[in-house]
């Protein structure tokens, strides 16, 4: 079943003298449970695409329909609530609130949801366990390695069991072992929690883990292959 339907997405940046057509007519459907990589060289439009799917940025034209909601038609405030309730985000780096501990970062999302403390605690324990660093629960991000920070970011993104997770180059700042490890964790959670994952990357080893690979080039989909 389609969870995300993208139709003829266009995005042009006009900030520089020459307009940049970052997305040039992207059509894409993501089904529930996918573990999909968006690949392509730097500047091909991966970040732009993920930002628009997540309602962080607006397209110039085209539609993003998540189930039956057209996200770009929501108001600013509605988009925030929509993201909180339906989308998990993982960014390239510095994903965590520096003054909160690992556990507090995970529970922060749950608190925004208004989930009571005992339930928050159960969920954060479960996720800390799942990402393999329960012993780091009370440590602040600054004292975690890059790989550990990204694992907490994965746990945070999953905390409220969103419909899907958008991860923009989650391994870009990691060494290959940590990158591999993070992907393994994501893969496991994709199966266990039945959460859809869409992640961008230009790392060939990460691409190998994906079950579907969508290749972007100059703002267009060049290929789309499923394993």
């Amino acid at each position: 079943m389609a969870i995300i339907t993208i139709k003829d997405l266009q995005k042009t940046y006009n900030s520089s003298q020459v307009p940049v057509h970052a997305l040039n007519g992207v059509d894409l459907t993501i089904d529930e449970g996918e573990f999909t990589a968006i690949v392509g060289p730097s500047g091909s439009g991966k970040t732009t695409l993920l930002n628009i799917i997540g309602g962080l940025d607006d397209p110039n034209d085209g539609q993003v329909i998540i189930n039956d909601t057209e996200i770009n038609h929501l108001s600013r405030a509605e988009k925030i609530d929509f993201r909180l309730h339906h989308i998990g985000f993982i960014f390239q780096a510095y994903n965590l609130i520096p003054v909160l501990t690992a556990r507090e970062n995970i529970e922060f999302i749950l608190e925004l949801h208004g989930i009571p403390k005992s339930k928050r605690r159960l969920r954060s324990n479960e996720l800390l366990e799942a990402v393999g660093i329960p012993e780091k629960a009370d440590i602040r991000p600054r004292q975690l390695s890059g790989g550990q920070q990204q694992r907490i970011a994965v746990a945070r993104a999953l905390a409220s069991s969103p419909r899907f997770i958008l991860a923009d180059e989650p391994t870009a700042n990691l060494d290959s072992a940590s990158a591999d490890n993070l992907l393994t964790i994501m893969e496991e959670l994709n199966k266990k929690e039945k959460t859809t994952f869409i992640f961008s990357t230009h790392d060939a080893r990460v691409v190998k883990k994906a079950r579907r690979v969508v290749t972007l080039e100059d703002g267009k989909i060049k290929s789309d292959s499923k394993k």
């Binding site: 997540g54 988009k79 925030i80 993201r83 609130i97 003054v99 208004g114 419909r163």
Partner: protein, 414 residues
């Protein structure tokens, strides 16, 4: 799919704001201490101002004219014995029983020519009750030569007047004037003592006579030109004014020191305006200090603020979070400033700062004690605390407004 709004996360907001406050301890402390010193400085300035005004008012009100006077209604326009009045016993009793009034001091005042040998000077003759006058103005403390009223027919003269006339205690002064209803007045009085008043004009012109003797001189028996009223503060007297007015007869008026000495009031007002400008400059300096911190803080946090909006936190909560942080900083500084200024101002209030050199001489010449006086006035503190706090509040508008413009697009800067 539904999108319901959520109100959760306030605990997190408070927690994050509090921890952010201590994230850059040095900066928080520097900002809080700029607020701290701002409160101390402005409170000190304020209490110095109030102190000097109180002193000025005290000099004219407490030590010369009284906080208010009852006069004949025509006396302000024509200060002659013809515009004097006979205070009824009942009026004096009522005034003495009025709450807020400590003393009712009768005076008879007019002009005369005084001569000794072949020197003649125009003088102001002030007939006073020696005991009451001393209690009110501490006149006996101002005697620099001779004694304070040796006998009923003696006078006191200003130091400078005595020099101009070439007289000293023991000498005799001849005075002529016009008494009540135009009768001619003539008298010969031995000089009991010379006084030195901080007001140079009084030093040059004033002669004190015992009240009975002055009445005899001006042929104005039982008459006074004023009843000076002294309370323990201007405020207490002001409160009593409506009641006093009810006791007055038709041809009597009540005049406050402000009405009698409008120039002093004007001087205070213009000084207040100057001081306000100084304070505004001080507030501006503090304000820009805090603003600098806040701008820096917002720039540094750009990434994480975007992150919070991206993952589902409303900008209003972000705004609240930033507001809390700045307010805490402000409250810390203001409370510390309040506590810090207490001993500082207490010390200065009991240790007036002497003004030396030319400035001091100048002050003495225009009739002021050469000191900087500080008032112990809780109102001044509270006012300055409030002003600085409101200033912080105003500055917190900046992050508050900026919070609503935070983009959810998470950049890679950090």
């Amino acid at each position: 799919m539904t999108t319901q709004t959520t109100s959760g996360g306030f605990k997190s907001i408070v927690k994050i704001a509090w921890r952010n406050l201590w994230r850059n301890k040095k900066r928080t402390l520097i900002t809080a201490s700029s607020i701290f010193f701002g409160v101390i400085l402005s409170a000190l300035m304020g209490s110095m101002q109030e102190g000097s005004y109180q002193k000025m008012i005290e000099n004219v009100a407490r030590f010369y004219a009284g906080h208010a006077q009852i006069q004949h209604k025509d006396y302000p326009d024509n200060q002659s014995t013809n515009n004097s009045f006979v205070p009824s016993d009942s009026l004096t009793i009522k005034l003495n029983n009025t709450e807020g009034i400590d003393m009712v001091v009768p005076r008879l005042e007019s002009f005369a020519l005084a001569s000794s040998g072949n020197q003649t000077e125009g003088v102001m003759v002030l007939g006073v009750n020696p005991e009451q006058e001393d209690e009110m103005t501490e006149l006996s403390d101002k005697i620099v030569e001779g004694n304070y009223f040796d006998g009923p027919t003696q006078l006191l003269a200003g130091k400078e007047l005595a020099e101009n006339l070439g007289i000293s205690p023991g000498d005799t002064l001849v005075m002529i004037s016009q008494g009540l209803h135009g009768v001619s007045a003539f008298g010969k009085y031995p000089v009991a003592g010379l006084f030195s008043h901080p007001n140079p004009e009084l030093n040059r012109q004033l002669v004190y006579l015992p009240l009975d003797e002055a009445m005899y001189f001006f042929q104005a028996f039982d008459h006074v030109t004023s009843l000076a009223l002294v309370g323990n503060s201007q405020k207490a007297v002001n409160k009593a004014i409506p009641e006093i007015k009810q006791h007055l007869e038709q041809d009597q008026v009540l005049r406050t020191w402000q009405e009698m000495f409008p120039a002093i009031l004007q001087q205070i007002e213009s000084d207040r305006a100057t001081a306000l400008i100084m304070k505004l400059i001080l507030y501006l300096v503090i304000g820009f200090g805090i603003l600098g911190t806040v701008v820096m803080l917002m720039a540094e946090r750009q990434h994480e603020l975007s992150l919070m909006v991206a993952v589902g936190m409303h900008r209003s909560k972000l705004a609240l979070m930033l507001l809390l942080e700045i307010l805490w900083m402000g409250v810390m500084g203001v409370i510390a400033g309040f506590i810090g200024s207490l001993p500082v101002i207490a010390w200065f209030a009991s240790h007036p700062v002497p003004i030396t050199g030319q400035a001091g001489e100048w002050m003495k010449n225009i009739g002021f004690e050469p000191y900087m006086f500080f008032a112990w006035d809780v109102g001044v503190f509270l006012e300055q605390m409030l002003v600085v706090f409101v200033l912080t509040l105003l500055i917190s508008f900046y992050p508050f407004v900026r919070a609503f413009k935070i983009s959810p697009i998470v950049g890679l800067r950090n």
